[in-house]
Amino acid sequence: MRILIVEDETKVAHALREGLEREKYEVVVAPTGEEGFFLVNAQEFDLVILDLMLPGRDGLQVLSTLRKRGLQTPVLILTARDAIEDRVRGLDSGADDYLVKPFAFPELLARVRARLRRARTDPAVQLRLSDMEMDLLARNAKRAGRRLELTAREFELLEYLLRHKEEIVSREMLAREVWKETSRATTLDNVIDVHINRLRRKVDEPFDRKLIHTVRGVGFVLREEP
C-alpha cells in the first residue's frame, strides 16, 4: 500500500510518515504542490493525503487538475480551514474525505483504513476478542461464557471498540460515531470517560486479563496485550 503525503510542514510530514510506516504502509512525502503533482503523474499510489495550504500551488488546484486528468486515486485532504464552504469546495474538487487540523492521529489512521478498504464494510454480526464475544443480532455480550449486563449506550460503545480492536480510538471519534455529536465544540469527554469506566467495571474488573486500555492523551484501545 503506497501513500503519498503532500505537506509542506516538515514536522507534520515527518510525523505522518513515521506513524503510517509503523502501520506498514509505504510512504512518499512531497513538500510542495508541484512535486506532489509530478509524483502522482509519475508513480502509482493507493492514497494521496493532500494539505490544502501549500506554497506555490494551492492544494485544491492540484486536486482539481489531477481529477480533470482522470486520476482515480482516493484523496484525503487536510485543512486548517474548517469553514463549511471550504469542506464543500474540497469535496467538490474531487476529494474523497477531509480532516481538519489539528487532527488526532488515530482519526487519520481510521480514515486511511476506511479509504483503502472502501467497499469492504464489516458485515459481521459476531465480534470477538480473546474470551469476549458479542452477538449483534441477539444484542448480547459475553466474556468467558458469562453474560455482560450492558446498557444500550455501553453496548454501542463496546461494539465500536470491538470493531476497531487493536486500533487506538480517540474520544472525538467516539463522540461522533457513538454519541452522534457532530459539533467538535461540544465536549463529551467527561461523559465518555464515565462510560468507559463503567464498561471497564463490567468487562475487565472481574477478570485478570484487561482488555480496555487507556492511551494517555490520545484515547482508548481494545486489545489483549497491555
Binding site: 474548517d82 469553514a83 463549511i84 489539528p102 454519541w179 455529536e181 457532530t182 459539533s183 467538535r184 465544540a185 461540544t186 465536549t187 463529551l188 467527561n190 461523559v191 464515565v194 462510560h195 463503567r198 492511551v215 494517555r216 492523551g217 490520545v218
Partner: protein
C-alpha cells in the same frame, strides 16, 4: 471658494447676507413704489385743484383771444411750472402758456376730452421732460373750450430719487452690519460644535471614558451631544468586553501552553524509562487536547458571530430534545449522586435545529451538574411561558451565582470563580455557546439566581408556527 465649501460658519453668513440683501432690495422696491404712488396722488390732487383755479382765471378778450388774467380775485399767481393750453373743441389752439414756449401738450383734443372727470395722464414733451396733464372742458362766455393744465413731473422724480439715494446709501451699510451680525451669531451658535469636535478628537480607544460636555440637553446640539455620548458609552462597553475577552482568552491559551512547556522541559532534564516518557507525552497530549478544544469552541463562536452557521430547522418536541440532552449527560449526574429529572408539556413543538438546541441544553445541564453539590437535584421543565412562548427551565440546587457576576456569566471565558478553572475543566465558553444557540433560534436565555438558592436558567423560544393548539397535556 475653499472657504465657502469648508466653513459652515462662512456659508451660513453668506446665505444669511444674500437673503437679507434680497429682502432689503424687495422692501426698497415696494417702498419706492408706494412712495411714488402716494406722491403722484398728491401731485394729481394739486393738479386738479389748479385746473379749477385756472378755469376761473380764463378770460376772453374782445378779439376772441383767450388769455389768463394776470391776477385772480384771490390774488393767486399761476405757479411756475404750470403748463396751460386752451383748445377749442374744433381743434384750434386758443392759448398756450409762455412756460411751454413751443412745446405742445399733445395735439388737438378729441371729442370726449375733458367731458368726463378723468385721472391725469403722463405725457412726454418734445424736450424729453415728463408732464402730468389734466384736462377739463369749460365754457368761457359761451365759448366751449378744452383746458389742459400740466405740471412738470420733475419734482416728483426728484423726491423719489432722493428717497432712493437714502436707501442706496443705507443698503450696503445694513447688509454689511447684518453680515457681521450673522457671522457673529453663526460663530456663537456653532461654537459648541467646535468644542465638541475638539473634545472628541481627544477621545481615543484608550480614553473612551471621556464624555462630551453638554450645556443644554434640550436643544439640538445638546441632543447631538447626548447621542454622541451614548455611542461612546456603547463603544466603551464593547471595548471593555473585547479587552476582557482578549485577556481571558490569552490566559486560557497560555495555561495549557505553559503546562506543555514545563512538562516537556522537566522531562528532558534527566533520563527516564520508556514508561515515564509515555506518561510525559500523554500529559502533553492532554494539554494539546485542551488547546484544540478551546480553539474549536472559539472558532464555532466566531463562525456563529459571522452568521456562517445555518440552522437545519424541523418541527420537534421540545421535551424530546431535552430528554436527549439529559440522556447524554445523565451519567455525569449519576456519578455525583445527583438526580436529573426532565418533565413538562410534551405537546410543545418548536421549529429548531435539533443538534444546536440540544447543545445549548447539554451545556446548561453540564454547568448545573458541575456546580451543584452531590446528591442534589437538577430539574428540567418544559412549559408554555407568556405569549405562548416555549420555555425550558433548568434549575439546580447549587450555590447560585452572586448578583454582581450575573451580567457577565454569558460572556466568553467569564468565570465566577477564577481559581476553579482547572479543577472543574471547561474553558468558560459553554454558557456563551448556549446563549448563541438560543439566540440563533430567535430566543432568549435568562438567568435567575440568588446566592445560596441555586440557579435557574430559562430558555425562551418562539413557538413553532405549526404548533397544534391544545394538544394532549
Amino acid at each position: 471658494m475653499r472657504l465657502w465649501s469648508q466653513n459652515v460658519r462662512m456659508r451660513l453668513t453668506m446665505w444669511y447676507t444674500l437673503v437679507l440683501a434680497g429682502l432689503l432690495a424687495l422692501y426698497a422696491g415696494v417702498a419706492s413704489l408706494f412712495l411714488f404712488l402716494g406722491l403722484r396722488e398728491d401731485f394729481d390732487h394739486n393738479l386738479l385743484e389748479d385746473v379749477e383755479t385756472i378755469e376761473g382765471m380764463l378770460t376772453k378778450g374782445p378779439d376772441g383771444q383767450v388769455s389768463l388774467r394776470a391776477s385772480h380775485a384771490d390774488g393767486a399767481e399761476p405757479r411756475i411750472g404750470h403748463f396751460i393750453e386752451v383748445w377749442s373743441p374744433e381743434g384750434s389752439l386758443l392759448y398756450r402758456s409762455s412756460s411751454l414756449s413751443n412745446l405742445a401738450l399733445g395735439g388737438p383734443p378729441n371729442r370726449s376730452e375733458g367731458l368726463k372727470e378723468q385721472a391725469p395722464t403722463t405725457l412726454r414733451l418734445a424736450n424729453g421732460a415728463r408732464a402730468r396733464v389734466a384736462s377739463s372742458s369749460y365754457t368761457i362766455e359761451d365759448q366751449p373750450v378744452v383746458l389742459r393744465v400740466a405740471y412738470n413731473e420733475g419734482r416728483l422724480w426728484r423726491e423719489l430719487g432722493e428717497f432712493g439715494e437714502v436707501l442706496l446709501l443705507g443698503f450696503p451699510i445694513a447688509v454689511l452690519l447684518a453680515g457681521f451680525g450673522g457671522y457673529g451669531l453663526a460663530r456663537k451658535a456653532l461654537a459648541p460644535i467646535d468644542a465638541m469636535a475638539t473634545q472628541s478628537q481627544k477621545i481615543s480607544a484608550e480614553r473612551l471614558s471621556d464624555r462630551l460636555p453638554i450645556q443644554n440637553p434640550a436643544d439640538e446640539l445638546g441632543r447631538l451631544g447626548i447621542a454622541f455620548n451614548d455611542l461612546l458609552k456603547r463603544l466603551q462597553g464593547a471595548f471593555d468586553q473585547l479587552r476582557r475577552f482578549t485577556a481571558d482568552a490569552s490566559h486560557e491559551l497560555r495555561t495549557p501552553l505553559t503546562a506543555i512547556r514545563s512538562v516537556g522541559e522537566v522531562a528532558l532534564q534527566e533520563q527516564k524509562n520508556p514508561a515515564e516518557y509515555r506518561d510525559v507525552i500523554g500529559s502533553m497530549l492532554e494539554e494539546v487536547d485542551r488547546l484544540t478544544r478551546l480553539v474549536e469552541s472559539l472558532l464555532a463562536l466566531s463562525r456563529a458571530d459571522a452568521g456562517q452557521i445555518q440552522l437545519q430547522r424541523t418541527d420537534i418536541s421540545l421535551l424530546a430534545i431535552a430528554r436527549e440532552a439529559s440522556a447524554m449527560v445523565e451519567v455525569l449526574a449519576e456519578e455525583k449522586g445527583q438526580q436529573l429529572g426532565v418533565d413538562g408539556d410534551a405537546s410543545i413543538i418548536v421549529s429548531a435545529d435539533r443538534l444546536i438546541l440540544r447543545q445549548a441544553i447539554v451545556n446548561l445541564l453540564d454547568n448545573a451538574i458541575k456546580y451543584s453539590p452531590k446528591a442534589s437535584r437538577i430539574s428540567v421543565r418544559i412549559a408554555r411561558g407568556t405569549d405562548n412562548q416555549a420555555t425550558v427551565e433548568i434549575a439546580d440546587q447549587g450555590p447560585g451565582i452572586p448578583s454582581e457576576h450575573q451580567p457577565y456569566v454569558f460572556d466568553r471565558f467569564y468565570r465566577v470563580d477564577k481559581a476553579r478553572t482547572r479543577e472543574w475543566g471547561g474553558a468558560g465558553l459553554g454558557l456563551s455557546i448556549a446563549r448563541w444557540a438560543v439566540q440563533a433560534h430567535e430566543g432568549e436565555l435568562t438567568l435567575r439566581s440568588e446566592q445560596g438558592q441555586g440557579a435557574t436558567f430559562r430558555i425562551w423560544l418562539p413557538p413553532s408556527p405549526n404548533q397544534k393548539k391544545g394538544g394532549p397535556q
